[in-house]
Symmetry: C2
Subunit: 215 residues, 2 copies
């Protein structure tokens, strides 16, 4: 597979691969050896042709009749997603949401390990939340470059998120996972993934009110 | 404001309102009385005209020069988002992610309170996680209708998510917050908001690997 092909993988493909992995783990647990694209497709409401196309990006091609060898496919997808390497990450904003995220051990399954957190609140600095020490924000820039950190998680209030993102970019972080309800401005080579809880709940809660009014 | 205008509010507007609220809370805390759309816009990298348009949906119009009265605007947005009412919700899937979500108290700020959780694992059933009892999944349908639950949170593995969504819809749930990496098929009047952690980490982790390769 050439470099151009690798870099052109569409985001929707990347978003579907974790679902395939979950199905594969389950099949493996139940003793299956092979799996067809149709079986994966049916579990996840996706078309079989889409499953085959997505999997091709990982360099694996299914064989007629038997399909894919499950263990091979798991390794290929994990390696493609870089989930077979653990990348260290910093988190900024040790409030309610930040603390909850620090307590969620499972991110290592997805190749990410939050190793330290930062906050401006002097009452939080120096404390330990779920085994991670909270450092003052002004130490982040220096630690980022010294420890070659590439992933940053933002769980600060909306009005501080851009400032924190700028600091992260300065420190060499190129992948930002943003939980604040704001569109971050970052350089072109920086990746931002937004997971704004409050925005999802705004949509759900308002639409629910509309539904109830209509009935 | 007529019903037609209310029902036509665009999702991007709903997604921006929580950011405005965060800025308003902060300004109020610091003793401000009024705020202009420009101040809100600058904090969040949005255009002032967009802020004014979004806020109009809540029924509030700013006055020339002074702009908005902060306390009035907070009430209007909270009420528009239905965050001034707490809606009870059920969660299905008491694994790592489900447990982390059960432990996050702050959802009540966004009008949602998870009051019970369900799982198929008999070892989890009967236990209490962060103060919420875990019930067997087969009890959900009955409890949903008896307790008039309208919001469901799905934190089960991908291959079980559609089954759980179907059960929720049967039970009368019309707003689903889905953390599983799968596109759910639901009736037209059911709202789904997807927050797939694993999908966000797939995008971040793969793109990070690409960046590192290029440099």
């Amino acid at each position: 597979m050439t470099k151009n092909q690798v870099t052109s993988v569409p985001k929707p493909t990347l978003r579907r691969l974790p679902g395939y992995l979950q199905v594969l783990y389950e099949l493996k647990k139940n003793g299956s050896i092979d799996v067809s694209s149709t079986i994966i497709a049916n579990e996840l409401n996706v078309k079989p042709i889409q499953v085959r196309k997505d999997i091709e990006f990982t360099g694996i091609v299914g064989r007629p009749k038997t399909g894919y060898v499950i263990t091979e496919l798991i390794s290929a997808i994990e390696s493609f997603l870089n989930w077979d390497n653990i990348t260290d990450a910093f988190l900024v904003g040790a409030g309610h949401l930040g603390s909850a995220i620090l307590g969620y051990e499972n991110f290592t399954k997805y190749g990410v390990k939050i190793i330290a957190a930062f906050d401006v609140d002097s009452e939080k600095v120096g404390t330990v939340i779920h085994g991670k020490e909270i450092f003052p924000l002004e130490k982040m820039l220096d630690l980022c470059s010294r420890m070659h950190i590439h992933i940053g998680v933002i769980t600060v209030p909306a009005e501080n998120a851009q400032y924190v993102a700028d600091l992260m970019v300065q420190g060499g972080i190129t992948a930002i996972w943003n939980f604040a309800p704001v569109e971050l401005q970052v350089p072109e080579n920086t990746i931002v993934e937004n997971t704004p809880f409050s925005q999802s709940l705004a949509v759900l809660s308002h639409k629910l009110k509309e539904n109830i009014k209509r009935n």
